[in-house]
């Protein structure tokens, strides 16, 4: 029974390690945002918003919260500083739940501002919004919340597979090549002589290989359905989850490296324990 618990439940030490790991990655991403000129104070009071058909975005804009934060330089600076400070605070004191609550509230507003004023609802920041919630749970509940995140990851990839499956886009003969052209034309126009451009042009000349990549990605997303029935193949799924962002980047010039945070949930407790013991 004790061994079974060891297999399924995290110790305090392991939870603290995971918390530091997750928020370490988030902190690095916040620095990336600073270099990307996408922290709120760097956005220069953006004007065009895109709430799409998402009621959460509508409510936030009706309350004028994104406008209030992004249009006042002092508030924007304050928001960015709290994001960094709370993230660093959590890395130093992972057991302080109020810091995690502060981070989630501030990151939620950042998430809305980034997607609404970026005028496209990307899914890249979702893992950083969802994963911290697990660390609000108590020691024993955390293991269930962590497993819940694992199912969230499985659902994300499985749903992506099913959307393509039921819309029959996987049967469309030139789906991959059209995605590639739609996203990479500016790069190929401005940089036709680079090594990467030559690689893309080669693929455009040999579209069957682009379709192979698209179909392989589609198939690999479908493989995540197995995870709902058994944890036996989690190591394989972990490897696939590291592979898929490269496919998204190559085919659609879309970076989804943030999903890797959720991929951690595919690692067994024993593997995490081994890392800590070392």
């Amino acid at each position: 029974m004790k061994n079974k618990n060891k297999k399924e439940f995290f110790s305090e030490k392991q939870i603290r390690f995971l918390c530091r790991l997750v928020f370490g990655v988030i902190l690095i991403d916040l620095f990336f945002s600073a270099f990307s000129n996408t922290l709120i104070h760097q956005l220069q009071s953006p004007v065009l918003k895109f709430p799409y058909v998402d009621p959460t975005f509508w409510v936030m804009h009706l309350l004028r919260i994104p406008e209030l934060i992004s249009s006042n330089l002092y508030v924007a600076w304050f928001w960015d500083m709290v994001l960094f400070a709370s993230c660093i605070g959590i890395i130093l004191f992972p057991q302080k739940k109020w810091l995690i609550i502060v981070f989630i509230i501030f990151y939620f507003a950042y998430y809305i501002i980034f997607n609404s004023y970026g005028v496209h609802h990307t899914h890249s920041l979702i893992p950083f919004l969802i994963t911290p919630v697990a660390f609000l749970f108590s020691k024993k509940s955390f293991s269930f919340a962590w497993q819940g995140l694992r199912y969230f990851l499985l659902f994300s990839y499985a749903a992506a597979f099913l959307w393509k499956f039921f819309r029959f886009s996987w049967l469309q003969s030139n789906q991959g090549i059209l995605i590639m052209k739609q996203n990479l034309t500016p790069y190929l126009y401005f940089n036709p002589g680079t090594f990467l451009a030559h690689v893309y042009f080669w693929f455009l000349d040999n579209p069957v290989f682009v379709e192979i990549i698209f179909i392989s990605g589609f198939f690999l997303e479908g493989v995540f359905i197995i995870g709902f029935f058994t944890r036996k193949y989690d190591k394989v799924l972990f490897f696939i989850s590291l592979l898929l962002p490269f496919g998204f980047w190559f085919l659609a010039d879309a970076m989804f490296y943030e999903m890797i945070v959720l991929s951690l949930t595919l690692l067994p407790v024993a593997a995490i324990a081994r890392v800590i013991d070392k």
């Binding site: 990336f32 270099f35 990307s36 000129n37 996408t38 760097q42 956005l43 220069q44 009071s45 004007v47 065009l48 895109f50 709430p51 799409y52 058909v53 998402d54 009621p55 959460t56 975005f57 509508w58 804009h61 009706l62 998430y111 980034f114 004023y117 970026g118 005028v119 496209h120 609802h121 899914h123 979702i126 919004l129 509940s141 269930f144 497993q147 819940g148 199912y151 659902f155 994300s156 749903a159 959307w163 393509k164 819309r167 886009s169 469309q172 030139n174 789906q175 059209l178 995605i179 052209k181 739609q182 034309t185 500016p186 790069y187 190929l188 401005f190 940089n191 036709p192 030559h198 455009l204």
Partner: protein, 177 residues
């Protein structure tokens, strides 16, 4: 049955079980309906059948007479903010906020109920007109150079054989001096 995740959660803590079930059901519902309500996400990107356009738009951004290549050399999020709002502005300048016709099409008769609120969240003509000034400031933030002149042209490109992209036509989108 005892191995099922939700079964274990149910026996561990009923409130946690309700929380997980609620989250799972709302996620499923949103995906079945195709409506995203943060944090219940729809993972349908690139699932729609792509249609082959005759031309692909490429933005030629000229700051102080020099081309800003937004397709490379910047962090991905920076490139996203240089391109995506600009692309939206190109549509909004022609027809007003493109979200409005989209909402009417997607929500059909339900849009009438939402219309008073929609007018408060859609971009007004005034906001659309403010875009070039904002874009200038953002380019200044990105490049670090004072923007004395800004010109954005939309190039309509098509693919030729033998590794080349041909510009068929162009039109001016922003011209600020």
């Amino acid at each position: 049955m005892e191995k099922l995740f939700l079964y274990k959660v149910y026996h561990f803590n009923k409130k946690l079980f309700i929380l997980f079930m609620g989250f799972a059901i709302l996620n499923l519902f949103c995906n079945l309906k195709g409506f995203e309500i943060t944090p219940f996400y729809v993972w349908g990107m690139y699932s729609e059948k792509e249609t082959a356009p005759t031309e692909y738009p490429v933005f030629r951004i000229m700051v102080n007479g020099k081309v800003v290549d937004y397709s490379t050399g910047y962090f991905p999020a920076n490139r996203f903010f240089l391109q995506s709002p600009l692309s939206y502005y190109a549509d909004a300048k022609k027809v007003g906020d493109p979200l409005q016709p989209f909402l009417e099409k997607k929500l059909k008769s339900q849009y009438l109920w939402l219309k008073p609120y929609a007018l408060r969240v859609l971009n007004s003509q005034n906001e659309i007109q403010q875009f070039p000034a904002w874009y200038e400031k953002y380019l200044q933030q990105t490049t670090g150079d004072k923007v004395k002149s800004l010109k954005v042209d939309v190039l309509q490109a098509s693919y030729q054989s033998k590794h080349s992209i041909k510009i068929n036509s162009l039109y001016n989108l922003i011209d600020e001096k």
